[in-house]
């Protein structure tokens, strides 16, 4: 895990070992990541643009989550048809 996330966890005052899942929410201006720590959800890091999302999330935190059995929730949107 990169120092970006170590700093983000530290700033959010959460212990990485206690994270149960990440929730990824897509907005118009980028991606927000939330960590679920025992029922408390914490916004971690900044809003990431597509490039940052690839470097910092998919290439970094995603692998760490997979290795540590941390779930990654996607956010569902309704479909019209």
């Amino acid at each position: 895990m990169s120092s970006y996330w170590e700093d983000a966890f530290s700033e959010a005052e959460i212990d990485a070992d206690e994270i149960e899942r990440f929730n990824v929410v897509r907005g118009d201006d980028g991606w927000d990541i939330y960590a679920d720590v025992g029922g408390e959800m914490v916004s971690i890091g900044d809003t990431l643009d597509d490039e940052q999302m690839e470097d910092l999330f998919w290439d970094d935190l995603y692998d760490w989550a997979m290795d540590n059995d941390v779930d990654i929730d996607r956010t569902m949107e309704y479909a019209a048809d």
Partner: protein, 430 residues
């Protein structure tokens, strides 16, 4: 259960509006529809408030936010101010106030009833034994020249044309052939897949790798509708019926709503299509896992607590609507050449002869694919001309990231022996 008409009530207007992705609200502010919950989460952390979300297997759906006296409903795909205004006017003509979209659908349905209608309740059937997994079949591999097709407005068609029994009788003896010939019936059945890869006509064997219909190995005791049992039987399952609920005296409570919904689809844009498709979920979604989130002003943390789940409003309606879609997809759309089958759509190398149409329940040609690679249910990629698309069981990612995740998942599954038999309970839900 009794389905009753919408009572006449105070017709005070709800002023509904629309919020764009930058937080600009147009129209009314009593309730506001928007697409993504991302901005609402940020607003809730800034101003405080409450929100509700449902959590499935590896997915979250934000349902509603209360922030500073305004109620926001995210997840309205393709919503515009025009579609909000059109829906508001459409609903007001029927004395229906806007709110959560499933609730709007339910009240529009009630507005079409001229009197109370009784439909059968589930009796002593246990809904938890009904397999909810929507996926049907995936044949891992890389295929050239495929066709992708699906059912238009599948859920609207299924509920709109549904005939429901007024009551169920419980026969002491019932064989499979009798049961599947009786519409609206369902059974507690022991379903076994013990034979190996026996060809069953044009339908894929459910014992094959990647299939996630209900069960694909061993024996399981399930609640299944007549449509489900017919498919399982035709795909090679051995079935023993332990108990049957057979419908008697049928009514068509959704007929008028179906006509109304078709009108709504044409006059209220994407929002109208969503509402039209949501009625089924009202009867089925009661068992969803709903959580409440509490936000405190200026804090980046929020607490969540699981709310008490309740049973689906009507298990027979919900299960029958689902099963009718499965049945239509399997009986009409699936063949030996199907490589991926999901809730209401199929990808096949040689599709069966289908007539495409524009009405709900008609087949629609989605695309001609130059190449399609299937990993597992919900996980596939396809190329149409120069355009490559990745499907990651509902995950949204930019193209490069999607490619990476797909390749990553492919490597994991290549190494995993457990992939031979993927049970729906272990799969993500699309």
């Amino acid at each position: 259960m009794i389905l009753s008409p919408l009572p006449l009530r105070d017709s005070s207007t709800i002023h509904a509006g629309y919020m764009d992705a930058r937080g600009r609200v147009e129209g009314g502010r009593d309730i506001v529809y928007t697409e993504s919950p991302a901005l609402l989460l940020r607003m809730a952390m800034e101003f405080g408030g409450k929100a509700w979300f449902s959590r499935g297997n590896a997915s979250t759906r934000w349902l509603k936010f209360d922030i500073a006296g305004t109620t926001y409903y995210p997840g309205a795909e393709g919503v515009t101010l025009e579609s909000v205004e059109a829906l508001s006017e459409f609903a007001a003509r029927r004395n229906v106030r806007l709110g959560a979209l499933p609730g709007v659908a339910f009240n529009l349905f009630r507005s079409t009833l001229s009197g109370s209608v009784e439909v059968a309740s589930r009796g002593d059937a246990i809904p938890q034994r009904y397999p909810r997994g929507p996926r049907l079949h995936a044949a891992p591999g890389v295929y050239r020249d495929c066709v992708s097709y699906d059912l238009r407005a599948a859920y609207l068609w299924s509920i709109g044309t549904l005939k429901m029994p007024v009551a169920y009788c419980l026969p002491t003896r019932m064989n499979l052939a009798e049961l599947v010939s009786l519409p609206g019936s369902f059974a507690l059945a022991r379903v076994s897949f013990n034979r190996k890869d026996i060809p069953f006509g044009i339908l894929p064997s459910l014992t094959k790798q990647g299939t996630t219909a209900w069960v694909n190995k061993g024996s399981h005791t399930l609640i299944l509708t007549g449509d489900d049992l017919a498919i399982a039987h035709l795909c090679g399952a051995a079935i023993r019926i332990d108990k049957a609920w057979v419908g008697v005296s049928f009514v068509s409570p959704f007929e008028s709503f179906y006509e109304l919904a078709i009108e709504m689809r044409s006059t209220c844009g994407a929002l109208g299509k969503q509402v039209a498709n949501m009625l089924w979920g009202v009867f089925w979604a009661g068992g969803a896992n709903v959580w409440e989130a509490t936000f405190h002003k200026g804090s980046r943390k929020f607490t969540t607590r699981q709310m008490q789940s309740r049973e689906p409003l009507s298990f027979p309606i919900g299960a029958t609507v689902l099963a009718r879609i499965r049945s239509k997809v399997f009986m009409e759309g699936v063949s030996k050449s199907s490589v991926h089958v999901h809730t209401d759509g199929v990808i096949a190398t040689k599709p069966p002869l289908l007539s495409y149409g524009n009405e709900p329940g008609d087949w629609r040609l989605v695309g001609n694919l130059n190449e399609c690679e299937v990993l597992a249910p919900g996980w596939y990629r396809y190329r149409e001309g120069d355009k490559e698309t990745y499907k990651l069981a509902g995950r949204v990612a930019s193209r490069d990231a999607a490619r990476r995740i797909f390749h990553h998942r492919r490597e994991i599954w290549k190494q995993s022996e457990s992939r031979k038999f993927i049970h729906p309970a272990n799969m993500d839900t699309v």
